[in-house]
């Protein structure tokens, strides 16, 4: 069978199964295995010989799956996920939000700003946008509603703030991107710092503008009678998050730790902090661990299946053929980039972030390489686009997460409209990142040369 036709059929099969609600891991893995069997059993111009295909297929499947799971560098994924869960149970993230609330209360929309900044801080610990939105949504949305914030601003701020987890290190999406593009995780983590902070500034500016345009959406009173507003005490609540962030980003930037070591050390430090504060008990430790290993298993199943899918796609040589076809038009780089941005924005509305990464990278990365694009910069752009996808309907995952953890008074349309307002400056940040690659590359270049 013609490999190009086979690749096309397999890709179509994956999309069909995804539409039928088959888990991403199963759809990718099964289609890749069937595709590999057909590829080896039915060579172009020859007869079907199933027996002959078994040996190469099993060798390929065995090598790609076992070596992927049996990996030291990838142990950073469960360790970072564990860090997020332990930090949540140790109330490190709750303290961060409480402190920021006191410190920012005098600014316009101070509580909303504290929520977004809290999300940034939470992201810096957990690395997961959805976990961040879920955890912060439970605390911050009811709090803002209690103070009289409009549901649209309250829910939109946390949905948007939650997306910062994709860019601010340690980001799980960066780790997955690094696996599939063979880029340095250190470089990607550092490359995400400035764009992440820039996105944070964009969100804070959005809140300022919101307060100016619709003052009725923001309450006049920002402190309740009897509330503790001691700034020094509030500052002291920031140290655990600051310490964990320093271990991860500072440790990697200064070359003290590899990302895996930073993940392990920060997980142990967070656990010790939780035990010291009597927040982490045996049962909360088990609960954190249980959530961690379940999430790890889910993510790794998708990544493992995607590894098989990538192996199949590279065998069929569909990517070089697509590249040749593309180059026959000789499109300028900016046109290709615009097409890729639109592609990710559209696909981001329908698929979840990990699925998009593993499905698209085998196609988009070779295109970028043919234009000598720095893959660290491209990684930042892709992750930023996925971040935007998290709050873009109909499948903006953070929108649904916020809806599910918010009080019933917050409707889905309020969350969508609220998040939509934050998209405007998010696009401005995206354009800046596209036009000025140094915003992403300056920090990794300064660290590693």
């Amino acid at each position: 069978m013609d490999p190009t036709l086979l690749a096309g059929l397999v890709v179509a099969g994956v999309l069909l199964l995804l539409a039928l609600r088959v888990p991403i891991a199963y759809a990718l893995g099964a289609c890749a295995i069937v595709g590999l069997v057909v590829y080896f059993a039915w060579r172009p111009g020859g007869d079907i010989n199933l027996a002959a295909s078994m040996r190469p297929v099993l060798r390929l499947v065995g090598a790609n799956t076992f070596s992927f799971v049996h990996s030291y560098p990838l142990s950073m994924i469960p360790l970072f996920i564990g860090l997020g869960h332990v930090a949540y149970h140790a109330e490190i993230t709750t303290d961060l939000y409480r402190s920021l609330r006191v410190l920012l209360r005098k600014l316009p929309g101070g509580l909303a700003m504290a929520s977004v900044s809290g999300c940034a801080g939470f992201s810096a610990i957990t690395g997961s946008s959805v976990a961040c939105a879920a955890a912060m949504g439970k605390i911050a949305v009811p709090e803002m509603l209690r103070y009289g914030y409009h549901p649209r601003l309250a829910s939109g701020a946390v949905a948007a703030g939650g997306t910062l987890g994709s860019l601010i290190p340690p980001s799980l999406l960066f780790v997955i991107y690094a696996i599939f593009t063979e880029q340095s995780v250190n470089g990607l983590f550092l490359a995400g710092v400035v764009p992440g902070l820039l996105s944070l500034v964009g969100f804070l500016l959005t809140i300022c503008l919101w307060c100016l345009i619709r003052p009725s959406h923001v309450p006049k009173v920002t402190v309740e009678v009897g509330e503790d507003t001691d700034r020094l005490k509030a500052l002291s609540g920031l140290w655990p998050s600051a310490l964990l962030f320093s271990i991860v980003v500072g440790g990697i930037y200064l070359g003290i730790f590899t990302p895996t070591e930073a993940a392990a050390v920060s997980l142990i430090v967070a656990t010790l902090i939780g035990i010291g504060r009597r927040k982490i008990t045996w049962s909360t430790l088990i609960a954190s661990g249980s959530d961690t290993v379940r999430q790890t298993a889910m993510i790794f199943m998708v990544a493992l299946a995607a590894k098989l899918f990538t192996a199949f796609i590279s065998l069929t040589r569909i990517t070089p053929l697509t590249l040749d076809w593309l180059q026959s038009f000789d499109p300028p780089f900016y046109a290709v980039m615009i097409a890729i941005v639109i592609f990710y924005l559209v696909i981001g509305m329908f698929l979840d972030s990990i699925g998009i990464l593993v499905l698209t990278l085998p196609f988009t990365v070779p295109i970028m390489l043919s234009y000598d694009v720095n893959l660290i910069w491209f990684g930042v752009i892709v992750i930023k686009l996925l971040e935007i996808g998290l709050i873009t309907p109909p499948i903006g995952l953070n929108i649904f997460v916020i809806k599910s953890v918010s009080p019933k008074s917050v409707t889905l349309s309020e969350v969508i409209r609220g998040s939509g307002a934050f998209l405007v400056l998010d696009f401005v940040v995206l354009i800046l990142l596209l036009l000025i690659p140094a915003l992403s590359l300056w920090l990794p270049n300064s660290a590693f040369g």
């Binding site: 199964l17 088959v22 076992f66 799971v69 392990a264 142990i268 961690t292």
Partner: protein
């Protein structure tokens, strides 16, 4: 991704063995973190005190990833896209779940058979990772095969129960 409360399929209770395996994975996670931290700290003081820590972490990773899969599958926890099937009612959802398990079985059937071959080869050759501990390769392959088998059995059990429910 999801907003499927109205026709959400209930999770299936996981077995004691699956929960025990998930607990093993939790223990391995914290052991991994403690071991790496201990070696980082001891490296600052003098030299790393745990030999072959990278190899041990690799072996533990297999358990951390594969062992909770039974519990995750019983809870219908795998990541899926629920855009075009949101309107599907309970019975239809069970039929889709049957398809899901069949596809899962194709994937895991291939992976488990490859894992068996990998284990047999590692056992026959008795190869080991060279280091202080000379860890035999078959250990990692055996845990990979065991984890895959448990996952495969869980998929099969889910298939049977969802076929019954879809009638």
């Amino acid at each position: 991704m999801t907003s499927r409360e109205p026709y959400e399929l209930p999770s299936v209770p996981s077995t004691k063995a699956e929960r025990a395996l998930a607990t093993v994975a939790i223990v391995c996670l914290f052991v991994m973190a403690a071991m790496i931290t201990l070696n980082v700290v001891s490296r600052w003081i003098g030299r790393a005190i745990i030999p072959d820590d990278i190899l041990i972490v690799q072996e533990l990773m297999v358990l951390v990833i594969l062992f909770p899969l039974g519990v995750v599958t019983a809870a219908r926890g795998h990541i899926s896209v629920d855009l075009l099937t949101e309107w599907v009612r309970q019975k239809g959802r069970y039929r889709l779940a049957v398809l899901e398990h069949c596809i899962g079985l194709i994937m895991m059937g291939g992976i488990t058979y490859a894992a068996w071959r990998g284990f047999v080869q590692a056992w026959d050759t008795q190869d080991y990772y060279s280091g202080t501990l000379d860890i035999p390769m078959w250990i990692g392959h055996a845990s990979f095969l065991f984890g895959s088998l448990v996952f495969l059995m869980r998929l099969f059990a889910m298939l049977i129960s969802d076929i019954r429910a879809s009638r």
